[in-house]
Subunit: 132 residues, 2 copies
DNA sequence: ATGGGGCTTGCCATGGGGGGAAGGTCAAGG
DNA sequence: CCTTGACCTTCCCCCCATGGCAAGCCCCAT
């Protein structure tokens, strides 16, 4: 399998696949012409990586998960720990965004949004945040 | 005012302030020794930028907001448009994270998390996502 | 053999700074 | 006057996870 075929099948850009090889996530073979020669196992790994990335796992998390994926004697507790840690980061990020959303929504709702220059949004950004 | 004082007062790292000058968000004066000489207006702008950034506005959004902030004849509608656009991005990001959260939570809940190797999390990452 | 696509490497760019080196400046103490 | 140490300056490389582009092979069909 050449890179464009495995890219189409894994749903990843060829550039990303080359990058994943460069950082050691996959190790495809090489043909005599220098082309990467992907096996089915490489394709599986790339599909795995694509799904893990789409769930927001970092590359380093992916490296860990891939090692666990390949280790037939792994403990599921190890996998669960990685996943739960990531869930914590997701929850924290959601909370942060929701706080921004609340603050900004309040400012937007207070703004007339007409031709006049008076603007509570700019006012809110210019002054220290009130805690009440 | 030297950079460390304005950094402390604006709550921004000195490095960030130099960066903001480099990209033209602020234009502090210079003393004869080459040191940046910040005025009160520079401090206000930096505090404004810090709050806008903490609400998740991009640097380019900040540039726009700062221009509106300085334009006494702006229309509040222009400000509101920028803020609403940003609120849309925030909502999209929250939705994306919540989708990840839902998928990952389901996998984590299905995982025993013990010493055995069977792991629905890895299974879910290895197989194409079921839509049910 | 010629053309057009696919493959390779390599370098530069993003956003929003962080880290740290090399060197000039300033204020206080001996 | 000299030193010390804190502060300031510019400069360049680093992060993540790619995207874009260019030069130069390679393969297949005509």
């Amino acid at each position: 399998m050449n890179i464009s075929e495995v890219a189409a099948r894994a749903g990843l850009p060829a550039k990303t696949i080359r990058y994943y090889e460069e950082i050691g996530l996959i190790r495809p073979l090489r043909g005599s012409n220098g082309y990467r020669a992907f096996r089915e196992t490489d394709l599986h790994k790339l599909a795995f990586l694509g799904r893990a990335r789409s769930l927001g796992f970092s590359i380093e998390d992916c490296r860990t998960l891939l090692a666990l994926y390949e280790d037939r004697s792994r403990a599921s507790a190890d996998v669960k720990a990685v996943a739960r840690s990531h869930l914590g980061r997701i929850a924290a990020k959601i909370a942060e965004l929701q706080a921004m959303q609340a603050t900004l929504t309040a400012l937007v709702d207070a703004c007339a949004g007409d031709q006049r220059p008076d603007c509570p949004i700019l006012g809110g950004l210019a002054l220290p945040p009130a805690q009440g």
